[in-house]
């Protein structure tokens, strides 16, 4: 690793800027498709023994039963059909099931979930609190961890940059999921939010590792009197590069098979985690450290060539 990260910082800033803008665009343009655990509704997975029966046979019957032409029916692997409805009572569920069985023969129900609309609102409130608390504790932790360094960068600035790069790592998966929501109807659910929280904690720690090295090197070089902030940052990044990449790589390797052969309900949870870990590793090397340099209060005094 011999790239001069500080010198080429604008390339990384532009690259990340594009990623973030695209994600924000996706978020506002495509909107967020919420899962039933957040928005309420029914996910009803059925398996009809007579495999000749298709979505198109089911639709008119269900439309008539529920009096709702907005329901969606999706084919899943292994002959499963997913019916999506507004939330319904157990009585209605049994009524529909009976009616379908009379019409199509034996039906298995691998899963049935019906969630009232109020549940999701509460859940969202909870997650907002959890998220804010997570951000706050991480900021406090970083400010505390860097409390002894005040030259040339104030310790709270480390905290702010760590959190900024955390945002960067979260926005990109959000963008991808809203894009997938638009393309394939993938929904954002509790698992997705949990994955984002994990990414926040994990990628921040990656950034801390790099900053920690910068801090250590600053103390060394500063004492020697020949202070060169850019070079200090570059060498710190070089020293931590292999560890940063390898740590993220082993974590991604451990979970990657679950994306391909794991159960369907984990698929996008794992995808979000993998993307977040990779983006987090990238941002701690190529974004957070240059940001520290850009924000450096006395950079003009010590211009580096």
């Amino acid at each position: 690793m011999n790239i001069d990260i500080i010198k080429h910082r604008n390339i990384f800033f532009i690259f990340s800027g594009i990623l973030i803008l695209a994600s924000i665009f996706a978020f506002f343009f495509f909107g967020v498709k919420q899962g039933i655990d957040l928005a309420g509704g029914t996910n009803w997975q059925i398996q009809i023994e007579n495999s000749a029966i298709k979505e198109s046979d089911l639709r008119p019957v269900l439309d008539e039963l529920t009096g709702n032409s907005n329901l969606t029916i999706k084919s899943l692997p292994e002959g499963n059909l997913l019916i999506k409805l507004p939330s319904i009572s157990e009585e209605d569920h049994q009524k529909y099931l009976q009616a379908l069985q009379e019409k199509f023969g034996k039906i298995k129900e691998p899963s049935f979930e019906s969630i009232g609309p109020t549940v999701g609102q509460e859940l969202k409130n909870r997650f907002i609190w959890a998220f804010l608390l997570g951000l706050l504790s991480i900021m406090l932790y970083v400010a505390w961890a860097f409390r002894k360094v005040s030259y040339p960068v104030k310790s709270w600035k480390y905290g702010v940059i760590v959190v900024l790069s955390g945002f960067h790592d979260i926005i990109v998966p959000v963008g991808l999921m809203t894009f997938l929501g638009w393309r394939q109807g993938i929904e954002i659910d509790t698992n997705f939010i949990v994955a984002l929280m994990f990414i926040l904690g994990y990628s921040v720690n990656d950034t801390i590792v790099v900053f920690d090295r910068i801090r250590e090197n600053l103390i060394l070089t500063h004492n020697k009197g020949n202070f060169d902030f850019a070079a200090t940052i570059n060498s710190a990044v070089r020293q931590t590069f292999a560890r940063s990449v390898n740590t993220s790589l082993t974590t991604v390797l451990a979970i990657a098979p679950l994306y391909f052969i794991g159960p369907l309900s984990l698929k996008y949870f794992i995808l979000t985690l993998m993307l977040g870990i990779i983006v987090g590793s990238y941002s701690s090397i190529f974004i957070a450290s240059p940001l520290l340099y850009v924000w450096h209060p006395i950079k003009n005094k010590n211009k580096v060539k």
């Binding site: 504790s137 991480i138 949990v194 994990y202 920690d212």
Partner: protein
């Protein structure tokens, strides 16, 4: 320095790891327990979440609007106990029933693992009798259309709820009145007896309505003040319906109304399928990690892999002992922690190479490497631990599994880096000076 010091500590660790491995592997462990004539307490099962064994998670909202703020906690606790007794009637193994506060609302959550007929279960939970007494006010005939009693009994009356409800009932039994018709005798506790006394005193020569599940079942005339806390309900019972009502009362009347707001039911076959896929995926992931670190770090990668295997069997053993309810997300959290656990080993190894280069002896280099790597290991896990704790505190049951396995997994990985990796290094690393 002695060259071949017998690594007793390491051997103990490895023996413990083998034992833990046997303990983790469900098909073998019960056989070993019975062969070795160990007490049955050693026989532990994995506790699997509903999404893996199949079952239902029912969320009820508790309507506390009629309950004063001071009484809410005791009502909610009472409600939980009542539902628990109800649920135990239909024989589900280890039902989980708990209260979740959501904003200013209270929810009651019922987890029924492996239940076959969820429709019946929902019926039985919901049907628990909600008994209350209501005062009756006579109305001019015109104003009665909106009566909540529907078609039943006296359409010319308005019912005014009182605070005498089933929560004060301590017992109920079937008896027969003078005409040989079955009636239900109920007994109130002291508090209920007092309310009943006041209520009857206030309504002498008036009607007093007895409602069960929001339906009036009897509207007798109060002849005199009733003290002592006993009341007799003589609806149109058959011996059978009277007996059923008593059973329901003795399991407990619901102290507050509940409403089913969500239901999540996973079939047993889907659960098993998910479990198999997740375990298989996890094993492949574990293998990939091991291949990578051996490929990249060579000899040290081998040591780290050994440490990783030991870490994994111990952590699984802890999950089983506690026991942690393993959900899909929970297993994913554990697999994630395996990938993360590599980091601590790499940190130690990198430091050790530096120290050996400086010419330190093997023992000193290992000591120094651990001393210097420890702050980094600690710091690099702290933010993940913070997030795991927050998630555990805020999240619902499926997510709690993820937070808990991640938390335990990360803590164990720090512990295993210090204990396991260190012992392995002491065995395998040779003094550079002797080379």
């Amino acid at each position: 320095m002695k060259k071949n010091k017998f690594p007793i500590f390491l051997i103990l660790i490895i023996l413990a790891a083998i034992l833990a491995g046997l303990f983790d592997y469900q098909p073998i462990w019960p056989k070993l327990v019975s062969k070795a004539h160990l007490p049955a307490a050693f026989n532990r099962d994995w506790r699997l979440g509903l999404d893996l064994v199949g079952g239902s998670l029912l969320t009820y909202n508790i309507d506390l609007s009629q309950v004063s703020a001071a009484d809410r906690d005791s009502i909610v606790r009472g409600l939980r106990d009542v539902i628990e007794r109800r649920v135990n009637l239909f024989g589900v193994s280890e039902p989980q029933i708990y209260i979740a506060d959501v904003g200013d609302q209270r929810n009651l959550i019922v987890e029924l693992a492996g239940i076959k007929d969820i429709n019946q279960a929902i019926g039985m939970i919901g049907e628990t009798p909600l008994l209350d007494f209501r005062e009756v006010e006579e109305l001019p005939a015109a104003e009665t259309a909106s009566s909540t009693a529907g078609q039943s009994a006296e359409p010319n009356y308005k019912f005014i709820p009182t605070n005498l409800t089933g929560r004060y009932v301590t017992s109920a039994q079937v008896s027969f009145d003078n005409f040989g018709k079955p009636v239900v005798d109920i007994t109130f506790n002291n508090e209920g007896a007092k309310i009943f006394e006041d209520l009857t005193a206030r309504n002498v020569n008036k009607y007093l309505a007895i409602f069960l599940d929001n339906q009036p079942i009897e509207i007798p005339v109060v002849k005199e003040k009733i003290s002592g806390g006993k009341a007799q309900i003589s609806g149109n019972f058959t011996p059978d319906s009277a007996r059923k009502l008593v059973e329901r009362f003795n399991a407990g009347a619901l102290p507050a109304p509940i409403k089913l707001i969500s239901q999540q039911t996973i079939g047993a076959s889907l659960g098993l399928d998910s479990l198999k896929k997740t375990i298989f995926g996890g094993l492949i992931g574990f293998l990939l990690v091991i291949l990578f670190i051996i490929g990249y770090y060579r000899g040290f990668g081998f040591i780290a892999s050994l440490a990783l295997v030991i870490y994994a069997v111990f952590t699984l053993g802890i999950f089983k002992i506690i026991p942690v309810t393993m959900t899909l997300a929970g297993i994913a959290g554990f697999i994630l922690s395996i990938g993360m656990a590599v980091d601590a080993n790499v940190l130690i190894f990198a430091r050790m190479k530096e120290e050996l280069k400086k010419g330190l002896s093997k023992k000193a280099a290992i000591e120094e490497a651990f001393r210097r790597a420890w702050p980094s290991i600690r710091d690099s896990n702290i933010t993940t631990l913070i997030i795991a704790v927050i998630l555990f505190y805020f999240a619902t049951s499926f997510v709690k599994g993820f937070a808990l396995t991640l938390l335990i997994g990360v803590l164990m990985s720090m512990f295993s880096a210090i204990i396991v990796t260190k012992s392995l290094l002491e065995l395998f690393v040779r003094d550079t000076k002797n080379k």
